[in-house]
Structure formats: structure tokens, C-alpha cells
């Protein structure tokens, strides 16, 4: 009856064009003998075709902005969603997770170098903007000892931080924007030393610039913005440095300062 041992699997593989030419020929010979199966096969082929006609148009639809942003820049997307007024609290939770994973992805390149087993360490890594915001919150309200080394010893500060971080770091000059250097300090990062510079304007409004070298290996990013409680943070990765500028001032003003910092710190 079925000398070629054509199985149900063969019929499906025939429908999906997954057979060798030889087997294909055998299935065709079989189908010529068994019209009921031939009808079934035709129906299945029609299903494939109909499903493609029905859903292929989705391929050509423009990607919704939030998905595009999330694919391109996970953090940016998460922040954009935050602005949407109809955000559900469930989404807010996911947003927090999104922010975290976005920043984690920043260190992924470095982790991929094989220095560490990511599974062991990912959970302990705090994202750049959060580290910076926490450091800002801890040190900027301190009236008496906001910094370890004050601005009047700037040369010593630069020398010390350069030595500890292993790469040249120096505070940008922000006097033109009304912010004078208060000083700086060394802090523990995720896996080693990071630097914090503190600035202050005429009204004693403080701003901190967090400088880390823990993002080596990651390609540069544009400015990214995050908000941690009252603290606004602009941060970016450039060359061997990750920077985060934190203050509780308006986003626009902070962006202006961030741009100035960026311009001054550019190696080129």
C-alpha cells in the first residue's frame, strides 16, 4: 500500500519544503495514489500561504517609537516611557528594571572580555547613573567635608586621582557657567576606584561629576538622562571613561553644563 514508507512527518516536511529532492519525488508519487492525503497537503500549503499573507504586512509596519528606542538605546526608551502620562504602576516597576538592565548592558562589553563570569557578578553591579546619584546625595549636603581634597590643592587632587585611577583625570572648568570647583574625592566603584569632583554655584547649589573607568571596552554613547529622586543625572560613556553629572537642578540647565563638560573632556 505504502511501499515508500511515507509518514505523516514526510507530508509535513513536504508542505514545508524540507525534503531532499529524492524524497520529495517519492512523496509526490505517494500523493498521486492517496487523494485524501493530497487534499490535506494542499490545505496545509494553503494555510502556510494564508498565514504569510495575513501577517507579513506586520513586517513592513514602522516600528513604534518606544520599541525602536528600546532596541537602539534601552535606557533612552525607558526614560521616554517615564514621561508618558498614562504609565501604569506595573510598567513603572518594569521601567525600574529596564533602567537597571540598560545600565548593566553598559558593562556587558567589559564583562564579555572574560575577566569575570557575568552570572556571578551582574547582580552586584550598580549602574553608573545610580552610583553617581548616590554619591551625590551622600556628599553634596555635607557642609564641612564635602570633598577629600579641596580646590586650592587642585594640582595635588589631579595627581592623586590620576594615580589611583591609572589614567589622566582632571576636573573641567565650569566657572563660565557659574560653577566653581569645590574639590574632589576618591570613591569605590563596582570593581575599583572612581573619582568625584564637586562644584558649587553662587547660591551654594552643588553639582558633582562622577568619573569612572569601569566602562572600558564599551563603545561611546550619547547623553543619557536619568532621574533618581530629586537628583537629575546626565551620563555618557566616552573612550575609556564613563561620566555622570548629577545635581538637583532643572534638566535643561544640567544639560548645558553636561555639554560644557563633554566639550572640555573630549580627548580629540
Amino acid at each position: 500500500m505504502n511501499p515508500l514508507n511515507i509518514t505523516e512527518d514526510d507530508l509535513h516536511a513536504y508542505v514545508d519544503d524540507a525534503l531532499t529532492a529524492e524524497r520529495r519525488g517519492e512523496v509526490e508519487a505517494y500523493l498521486a495514489e492517496y487523494p485524501a492525503d493530497a487534499e490535506r497537503v494542499r490545505a496545509y500549503q494553503a494555510q502556510n500561504q494564508a498565514l504569510r499573507s495575513l501577517f507579513n504586512p506586520v513586517i513592513d509596519e514602522p516600528l513604534p517609537d518606544n520599541l525602536h528606542a528600546l532596541a537602539a538605546q534601552p535606557l533612552g526608551a525607558a526614560v521616554n516611557r517615564e514621561k508618558q502620562p498614562n504609565l501604569k504602576s506595573l510598567l513603572a516597576q518594569r521601567l525600574a528594571a529596564g533602567l537597571l538592565v540598560a545600565a548593566l548592558s553598559g558593562v556587558a562589553g567589559w564583562l564579555a572580555h572574560g575577566h569575570y563570569h557575568p552570572e556571578d557578578h551582574m547582580a552586584q553591579v550598580t549602574p553608573l547613573f545610580r552610583q553617581a546619584a548616590v554619591a551625590h546625595v551622600v556628599y553634596s549636603p555635607d557642609a564641612r567635608r564635602p570633598v577629600e581634597v579641596t580646590a586650592d590643592q587642585e594640582e595635588a587632587l589631579v595627581k592623586w586621582l590620576t594615580k589611583r585611577l591609572g589614567v589622566p583625570v582632571k576636573p573641567p572648568k565650569l566657572g563660565a557657567l557659574g560653577y566653581e570647583l569645590v574639590g574632589g574625592r576618591l570613591l569605590p566603584g563596582n570593581s575599583g576606584p572612581v573619582a568625584q569632583f564637586m562644584y558649587q554655584d553662587g547660591s551654594a547649589q552643588r553639582m558633582t561629576l562622577y568619573v569612572t573607568t569601569e566602562h572600558v571596552g564599551q563603545s561611546g554613547t550619547g547623553f543619557r538622562f536619568a532621574r533618581e529622586g530629586q537628583i537629575n543625572v546626565f551620563y555618557w560613556v566616552d573612550g575609556q571613561f564613563g561620566y555622570a553629572l548629577s545635581a538637583s537642578i532643572a534638566k535643561g540647565e544640567l544639560a548645558k553644563v553636561a555639554t560644557a563638560v563633554y566639550d572640555q573632556l573630549e580627548p580629540r
Binding site: E8, A18, D60, L63, L67, A72, L104, S105, A112
Partner: protein
């Protein structure tokens, strides 16, 4: 994984999600969750491995989680509960099942495989790998899914959500 590679996979993820869930917003939510989880698990992705398969498996697992939590409306049909077709004779001319609602009537595990085969044109072996099931299971679900879809489309198994067309 870089953003460009990820972006190129997005349209296919959306197509599959749309076909699986039917609803556009729910589908895009699922894609979004998939992306977020992908970024979160980026360390598990090995450069040079198949990004598409990885993303699809993330989406599959998310969906399994959601179904388990009962987040999504789902048909919890027993696979064999409806395998005895009965012909509806009284309303053949009035009720024609359209493909999309027919698809909704397939159990998730059948619809999923049918779509991976038809839309993604994945090999049976790749699907087995993706879903973590034996190839034999892929084949039997594909076979049942196709046959059930055929019966529904033929009006031999009319069910609740029929669409009336003139």
C-alpha cells in the same frame, strides 16, 4: 549584541507576537518585555550565536510565564478534547471562520509551532531546540494544529466566536 542587529530582528518578533496574540497592543507589549529581558540577560548571549533564536526563545519563555500567571486570556483546551469533528449543517452559508479567529482556537502550543513553521520558516529541529521539546513533539503538535485549523476553516468544527460574513 549590538543595537543594529537587534533592530533588524524587531519586525519578525512583532509579526510573530501579533500572530500569537492577535491583539496589536498586547503583541507589542510582549515584544517590549522581550527586549527588556534580552538587555537584562545580555551577558548570556554569546557573540556569533543565533540572535533571532535567542530572542524568540526569550519571547516564548515570557509567554509561558505569562500564561502560567494567567496574565493573558488563553484557551486552556485540552489537546484532544475537541478532536472529534462534528459537522454543523444548519449554518454553513452564514458562518465562515476567518483565519485569524480560527488561529485563536488552536491551543497555544500548536499555534506557536504552526507560526514558527509558516512565518519564520524555522526547521523542525530548530523549533525543538527553541522550545526545549523533542522533534517528535514538534511534529505531532504541528500535525494536530494543521489538521484542527483545516477543520475549523472548513466549518467542520464551529465554535463560539464565529464571524458572520455576508
Amino acid at each position: 549584541m549590538d543595537s543594529r542587529a537587534l533592530l533588524t530582528e524587531m519586525p519578525r518578533l512583532r509579526r510573530y507576537a501579533r500572530a500569537m496574540l492577535g491583539d496589536r497592543a498586547a503583541a507589542d507589549d510582549l515584544v517590549q518585555d522581550t527586549l527588556e529581558r534580552a538587555w537584562g540577560r545580555i551577558s548570556q548571549w554569546r557573540s556569533g550565536s543565533n540572535l533571532r533564536a535567542w530572542l524568540f526563545s526569550i519571547m516564548h519563555n515570557l509567554r509561558v510565564d505569562q500564561l502560567r500567571r494567567g496574565v493573558l486570556p488563553t484557551h486552556s483546551l485540552d489537546e484532544d478534547a475537541c478532536d472529534v469533528p462534528t459537522r454543523a449543517t444548519q449554518s454553513d452559508q452564514l458562518e465562515v471562520m476567518d483565519l485569524e479567529s480560527a488561529l485563536r482556537q488552536l491551543p497555544d502550543e500548536q499555534r506557536e509551532i504552526l507560526l514558527l513553521v509558516a512565518l519564520e520558516e524555522m526547521s523542525y529541529a530548530d523549533i525543538a531546540l527553541l522550545l526545549g521539546i523533542p522533534v517528535g513533539t514538534v511534529m505531532s503538535r504541528l500535525s494536530r494544529g494543521r489538521e484542527r485549523l483545516r477543520q475549523i476553516m472548513d466549518g467542520r468544527q464551529p465554535r463560539a466566536n464565529l464571524r458572520i460574513v455576508r
